[in-house]
């Protein structure tokens, strides 16, 4: 008999009290996946939903900056209970790396992802928002392989350079019959409609756009400022799209 990994069978059970699981993905980096994930979590919570937020960008975790938290630690209780920050249940690799560089090869990305899902005990949630890394490697492939009720939210910016890669992700997900909620055009510049038209031709909903905000970083970590910022107003309308 080959050695059997006992973790795989428990992942579904760990997620059974979560109503919807939403990976925020793009394929492309730097388009605002993390920004959208963080705002989405905050604004859903403002609507009194129970929200979890999971940073799966293992090479470049960044949600802890938005949430201004890297020195807490998940409580050990029959596993690890995510850190509660402003009533959002948060889990990140950052709690185990001291924010130092973590280089890994693909097989190890797989093991890390499985381990995180095995040991994290989420409270009952309405939404688990998963901040995805760029690329189409292990994190994407294993998430799809291990969890079968994902609803992808795609993020792009207004450039052809980004859409070139985003389109690849969309085509891949469509071919594998993975549900796509729709696409958000972030940091919209100009009034071109090509992203919206691309959505039409790809047959996925264009959820809406978010403007470019020069001073976005000033808000990070300040809960009240974020909630009342103009970008929150804009994203609220997007939140209405699916909740």
């Amino acid at each position: 008999m080959k050695l059997i990994d006992p973790r795989l069978s428990i992942i579904e059970k760990r997620l059974e009290n979560i109503k919807r699981i939403i990976p925020v993905a793009s394929g492309k980096g730097g388009v605002g996946k993390s920004t959208v994930s963080a705002f989405l979590a905050l604004l859903l919570k403002e609507k009194n939903y129970k929200v979890g937020l999971l940073d799966l960008d293992l090479y470049g975790p960044s949600l802890h900056i938005f949430l201004n938290n890297s020195h807490s630690f998940p409580k050990e209780e029959y596993g690890l209970i995510p850190v509660n920050i402003n009533n959002i249940d948060f889990m990140s690799i950052i709690y185990f790396t001291q924010n130092k560089p973590l280089i890994m090869r693909g097989k190890e990305l797989t093991d890390t992802l499985i381990e995180i899902f095995t040991i994290t005990r989420w409270n009952p949630l309405d939404f688990l928002i998963i901040d995805m890394p760029p690329g189409m490697g292990e994190i994407l492939l294993d998430l799809i392989r291990l969890i079968n009720r994902l609803e992808f939210l795609i993020v792009t910016n207004s450039t052809r350079i980004a859409m070139e890669t985003v389109e690849k992700l969309i085509n891949f997900l469509k071919e594998q019959n993975i549900p796509i909620l729709g696409l958000i055009e972030n940091m919209k510049i100009g009034d071109q409609d090509f992203v919206r038209e691309k959505c039409n031709s790809l047959g996925i909903p264009y959820i809406g756009n978010i403007s470019f905000y020069d001073n976005l970083e000033n808000y990070y970590g300040n809960y009240n400022e974020i909630i009342n910022s103009p970008i929150s107003k804009e994203i609220s309308q997007i939140v209405n799209f699916f909740a």
Binding site: M1, L3, I4, D5, P6, R7, L8, S9, I10, K13, E76, E77, Y78, G79, L80, I93, F96, T97, Q98, K100, P101, L102, I103, M104, R105, E108, D111, T112, E115, I116, T118, I119, R121
Partner: protein, 132 residues
């Protein structure tokens, strides 16, 4: 304490294996426990027994085999045992590796060439060897 989460996986999987093998009662569970994960065997064993109650695993004997851990450098090819470098870790680092073994790449480097790009060839975590 997070050993409970791993124990749950073992119990779940052992039940699945027993079912596939059409076992009416499990007599023995053979586990290999990787050094890198630094499992607290006392807690782990207690958790396994608690979680086995009222299942066909209830009276099974659980045999733990220590799974020595080896690391192999992807750059220079050097191979070494986890324990050679283990003592250089402080408590916080050990705990991080206990929770997520892959964070070993943050805290350990190849003793020969200094690279963080190495492979865990054996002894990462808990495995089920057989359910009898």
């Amino acid at each position: 304490m997070h050993e409970w989460a791993l124990a749950e996986g073992v119990v779940n999987t052992a039940l699945e294996i027993a079912q596939n093998k059409n076992l009416r009662r499990v007599k023995t569970i053979l586990l290999k426990v990787g050094e890198i994960q630094q499992i607290d065997l006392e807690v782990f064993d207690f958790a396994l027994k608690e979680l086995s109650k009222d299942t066909i695993l209830e009276k099974a004997e659980i045999k733990y085999e220590n799974f020595p851990a080896y690391l192999s450098c992807n750059v220079c090819g050097y191979k070494w045992s986890f324990y050679e470098t283990f003592n250089k870790l402080n408590e916080e680092e050990k705990e991080a590796i206990h929770f997520v073994p892959e964070t070993i790449h943050v805290y350990i480097k190849c003793p020969k060439c200094g690279s963080h790009d190495f492979e865990i060839t054996e002894g990462r975590g808990v495995f089920i060897e057989d359910v009898l």
